[in-house]
Subunit: 104 residues, 2 copies
DNA sequence: AAATAATATGTCATTATTGACATATTTACA
DNA sequence: TGTAAATATGTCAATAATGACATATTATTT
């Protein structure tokens, strides 16, 4: 994900802004980031719920433990594809995935 | 997306199976494909609804007309990231995106 | 505490995805 | 009909994402 956006100074001053404002993301970028964060959170939740280790999940989706760790750490090298594949492989239902889009 | 899955012969014979069965995708792969298809459909719907040409949408998200065409054509070179970015850039709301996950 | 299991972090060669471009085909409409 | 706008298809050099690996750090169990 690209985060190399130019600053957009917040007129209201030094109130503690949202993460999106602080990092100067456009609305669209902010939406995508929020979506990813939500899905990432769902991955970890689902994995733990099913008592899977990162190695277990990695095997299920033919990835590696380090990739799973990176997914859950929000590493910038991780694609939305991989996040969703992890979510599915972790046993999350369609309903779970859908809920991840709703969740804050 | 990889679709290089070995055949899984359907015991029940030549009933007309689901697309997923026919293409021999694992359940997980089938879920991801279904999700992509749903989102792709949502992109086109949203774009048309807002009366945007593919060129318009491409400019909004700093991509190219040919990429948008490929998104809507379900080209295998298109990532989930790009699809979702297109959906967001087309003006789809969080609610729209969410709905895309529900839709058939 | 020490051993073991789980998770995190860094690197890299291989593979996938990208925007841009040319050009073909289809659609709208004068 | 013809012509312009929109969409589709193919290609490719540049960039991004990948699994695998080594190894560090943190939790858990004995």
């Amino acid at each position: 994900m690209k985060t190399d956006k130019l600053a957009r100074i917040h007129v209201a001053g030094w109130q503690v802004g949202s993460t999106e404002d602080f990092l100067q993301l456009s609305d669209e970028e902010a939406q995508l980031v929020a979506l990813k964060l939500s899905l990432i959170s769902a991955v970890k939740k689902s994995r733990i719920k099913r008592k899977l280790s990162q190695i277990d999940l990695a095997q299920r989706m033919k990835s590696s433990q380090s990739r799973i760790a990176k997914i859950e750490a929000g590493d910038p090298s991780v694609s939305l594809d991989l996040i969703v594949r992890a979510l599915i492989a972790s046993g999350a239902t369609t309903r779970d995935i859908q809920a991840a889009f709703t969740a804050k």
